[in-house]
Amino acid sequence: MSTLEFLVSLPLIAALAIALGAPARFTAIGASVLVFLTTIYCAINYNTSFEDFAAWQFESARTVFDMPGIPTISLAFGLDGISVVLILLSSIVLLAAVLAAPDESKVQGNSRLYYLSLLLIGGGALGAFTATDLFFFYAFHELALIPTFLMIGLFGRGENRIRTAWTITIFLSVGSLILLVGLILLVIKLGAQTFAIADLIELAQGQGIDAASQNWIFLLLLVGFGTLVSLFPFHSWAAPAYAEAPTPVTMLHAGVLKKFGLYGLIRIALPIVPEGFQHWLHLLLILLIGNILFIGLVTIAPRALDRMLGFSSVMHMGYIFLGIAAFNTMGVSGAVLLMFAHGLSIAALFALNGALRDRFGDLTFRRFGQLAKSLPRLGLLFGFATFAAIGLPGFANFAAEIPIYFGAFDGDASGMNWLRWATVGALWGVVISAVYLLRAYRSIFMGNAPKVRLDDAPDMLLREMLPVILLIAGLLIVGFSPEVLNQYIRPTVNGLFLLSAG
Amino acid sequence: MDPSLTLNPLLLVSGLLFAIGLTGVLARRNLLIIFMCLELMLAAGNLTLVAFSRFHLVDGAPAYDAHVFVFFVITVAAAEVAVGLAIIIALFRSKKSTDVTEVTTMKY
């Protein structure tokens, strides 16, 4: 069993163990810690001087399905610089999410199912980020679909939770079906005999796909991946789902799983259908500006924290798309870094959102105020998370956004172009996100005394703070020293552009 | 038989009988009559088979394969009638009717 097989199977085995009767919380935390340590091990042993985009480290493969007429399917894993970052993200958020999950006794309903689902979602994410075979790359992501559905429907908040569970599930499954069509089409057009991504890239380097097909495929991939990432206008599942899902699920989904679509765009779409990408660039720019400005403004309106955070998570996807749209080392590296940063920051925000919800239930802004006085620790941590999300220097988000802006602005000095205008729009989006996040902070933690009862709302316990501190520490470390992660991202992204350079 | 007879009139007769049978199945409500119409359709098939066999001689004789097939069809038809009538009896016992339009408890 290779390291990565071990890594991916850990949460799945732990889930099985829980199903068979192992103590749920203990097993889940144990597995998450092990996952975290294993990812650290991988990160340390990753060779950062490795610039090949069509090759991986820690590779392992075993053929699982081979029949004439369809490409060979292998259960293959590997790490590139991008996936190192993403499994770090996954393992940190998984650990935080499991820590943030309520004790077994406090779970309303089947606590085994609760932890089991969390682990499945986490395992799916780890699998998707490490799979080097297109089939499993896709399949692992889908693994999380049903647990998410069950989690929201069973343990979610609010009267609409079942409806919400439906919305997210149908939306995502339709998105993935479209994606599936795109991916199969891609394999067919390449005439590939395997699903190994390396082979696909190699084929794309040779004959490649004709321009017309590229356009189609990229469109399918964009819509498919885009739906998973809540690209405007395929976003309406996200805000309610994140608002109503149980905290750990939101942390995992918004923080980690959502990045799958972006990873897919970088890993699959950019190297294999670059012409299609160029063809639809303007559309992508319009859509991402829709994310940033349209959804940004929409984010100002909600009257409750959870919904607002949900929308903000949609909005911030626009920046990652911008980085990808820039299609150069700076932009794409920034995008990868922002995936990490956004993952941690949104997970932290939602963890805190959950802590508030545990105490006060309804999160309508009007009910709150001055909480920083009675809940100083919560206030402080929330402040950190807020500033991280706003993109303040010192946090990883900022360190990621800067290369994105520069990447998107790169080029000659002849004047403005679509990409640059989009960047200007994105910069204005920074103002918007400051508006809504500071409003939220102001109305919850500052100002007049709250309407809610404070008697039975103690400040955060260490147990609650731990996941958030973990996340914020990650953000600060990377924010102060982005090179911690850039050392992994840079060579791989360079490799991508070495490819496209021929 | 008259050598001037061609294949088409025979096929036309069988086709018409087939259509008549189908029309009967669609038009009648009495299960028994519907069943008779189904028999007409099978018989039309038989006529077609025999006609073709007579027009495709094998070694100067009609193609007996088709005759055998007709034999099987007749057998199957008989079995079908038996089973069908048994069901009709069961239905009549419970509904006191053989009207198909009254058998509509399950829909949508």
């Binding site: 029949m67 004439p68 007429g69 369809i70 089947n110 399949a139 692992f140 889908e142 693994l143 679909l145 049903i146 559905f149 069950l150 429907g153 079942i162 569970a165 439906w166 599930t169 499954s173 339709v174 079906l177 599936l180 199969i184 089409l185 005999q193 | 069988s14 087939f18 189908l22 299960l31 189904l38 359709m41 099978l42 039309a44 098939g45 038989n46 077609t48 088979l49 006609a51 073709f52 495709h56 193609a63 394969d65 088709a66 097939f69 099987f72 199957v76 079995a79 079908e80 089973v83 069908g84 069901i87 009709i88 069961a90 239905l91 419970s94 198909v100 509509t104 408890t105 399950m106 829909k107």
Partner: protein
């Protein structure tokens, strides 16, 4: 061992069961089913002992295809389905008995149950013959064995209005489709002058073949096969019959009958799809049928409340995927092209497992008299986490969630359609698959999200055999 012995062994088993039923005074006739299961299990093992034919000159090969993987696979499917249906039928016995009142005083209290176990065995033989039939005659007779026996089985619970109604509907529409089959076969014979598929294929491949007549015959045959597959617009019987028939029979029908029809369709479509003159039109018409089937089946299931009925619509939808694969065929395929036969095999294999799993659970619920509507499984997860978990996995597979067997089938179907560039088909399949997600998960939602309905919060007993 000669391959055609298998069916005779099955028939012999059925006869033994009838005899035992008639002459041995069994206390509990359910042991007949166990006997059947055992016998079929042995025969299933014998599948692996089949030799290539030694008597090539025997006339049997004019009617019966030499054993290949495909036919053996479908024979296996038939055997497995029958075994599982019998397993269900054991649980189902009390319901059957309550719906066929004991005839006379002094008669065996379980009178009529023996036949309920023996008839499926004969159906199994019919299905196995279908899997190998390569002659219009043998195709016709084996199809009729299966469908006439199914008529009996569907209407078996004659005091139950639903079952009787299912019997009537299947009877009339089945006979109608038989009429079309005969008429179509007659024309096919008239055009090609042969009953054997080999010569038919050769005849149809000739450029001088009259396409009007040939396509006329094809359409007539297709009507009948589409009926058997449950493909639009000849699918209308499916929901009603599925709902009305006894649950084990519904399960048997949904898998066994469909598998048999699938392989026959594959065999009969082959001459047309390989013919240079006819293939374009044949593919087009298949594509239209596939699109209609995908949409009507999957969308129809969306608002369905009765689980068996829902499975009926779902079965229509799955037929859509099968026909989609067939409609995306390109003969002669490239060396490495995906053959529809392979897709069929995988799809049916996966479909068998998950559908039977669903029906097994439904059957247990039925036997526990909890009803078969969506409401009746509310809160199942709380009452019986085991059943709920099993059902969830089966449903996920039916919906085609990756890493389940159902996904492979769907994946292959999509792959072959994409290979062929059938865009309309793909669009319909996408809509269908998406709708599938909804209605399968709807069942899951009912199990997990809703509170158990009223009093029957008790755990549901599951017998060991079913559990296995």
């Amino acid at each position: 061992m000669q391959v055609y012995y298998l069916e005779f062994l099955v028939v012999a088993l059925g006869l033994v069961m009838l005899m035992v039923d008639a002459f041995a005074k069994l206390q509990d006739k359910r042991s007949l089913a166990r006997l059947g299961i055992l016998g079929l299990g042995v025969i299933f093992l014998l599948l692996f002992a089949v030799q290539s034919p030694s008597n090539a000159a025997s006339p049997v090969w004019k009617f019966y295809a030499a054993p290949d993987n495909l036919s053996l696979f479908f024979k296996g499917v038939a055997l497995l389905t029958t075994i599982l249906s019998l397993v269900m039928a054991i649980d189902f016995a009390p319901i059957v008995l309550s719906k066929i009142a004991p005839p006379d005083q002094g008669a065996h209290p379980q009178a009529g149950l023996g036949e309920f176990y023996a008839l499926p065995v004969f159906v199994c033989a019919g299905l196995m013959w279908m899997a190998s039939a390569n002659n219009l005659v043998s195709i016709f007779v084996s199809i009729e064995v299966v469908s006439i026996t199914f008529i009996i089985l569907a209407g078996y619970m004659r005091r139950n209005v639903g079952s009787l109604e299912a019997g009537v509907k299947y009877l009339i529409l089945g006979a109608l489709s038989a009429g079309f089959l005969v008429y179509g076969f007659a024309w096919l014979y008239g055009i090609t002058g042969s009953m054997e598929l080999g010569p038919i294929t050769e005849a149809l491949a000739k450029p001088e073949v009259n396409s009007t007549a040939a396509m006329f015959a094809f359409s007539l045959i297709l009507v009948s096969l589409a009926f058997k597959l449950g493909a639009a617009p000849f699918h209308i019987w499916v929901p009603d019959v599925y709902q009305g028939a006894p649950t084990p029979i519904t399960a048997f029908l949904s898998v066994g009958s469909k598998a048999g029809a699938a392989i026959v369709t594959l065999r009969l479509a082959y001459p047309y799809l390989t013919s240079p003159v006819l293939s374009t039109k044949a593919l087009a018409i298949l594509a239209v049928i596939a699109i209609l089937t995908l949409l009507l089946g999957n969308l129809g299931a969306l608002a369905q409340k009765n689980l068996k009925r829902l499975m009926g619509y779902s079965s229509i939808g799955h037929s859509g995927f099968l026909i989609m694969a067939l409609a995306s065929t390109s003969y002669p395929g490239a060396v490495n092209a995906l053959s529809p036969a392979a897709v069929f095999a995988y799809y049916i294999g996966a479909y068998l497992l998950m559908t039977l799993l669903v029906f097994l659970v439904l059957n247990v619920l039925n036997a526990a008299d909890t009803g078969e509507t969506l409401d009746s499984i509310r809160g199942l997860a709380k009452r019986s986490p085991f059943l709920a978990g099993i059902l969830l996995i089966a449903l996920a597979s039916l919906a085609g969630v990756p890493l389940t067997t159902g996904f492979i089938g769907k994946f292959l179907a999509f792959k072959i359609a994409l290979d062929a560039g059938q865009w309309m088909l793909i669009a319909a399949a996408l809509i269908g698959a998406a709708a599938g997600f909804y209605f399968y998960l709807k069942i899951a939602a009912s199990m997990y999200f809703d509170a158990p309905s009223s009093s029957d919060g008790a755990a549901i007993p599951v017998n060991l055999l079913t559990k296995v």
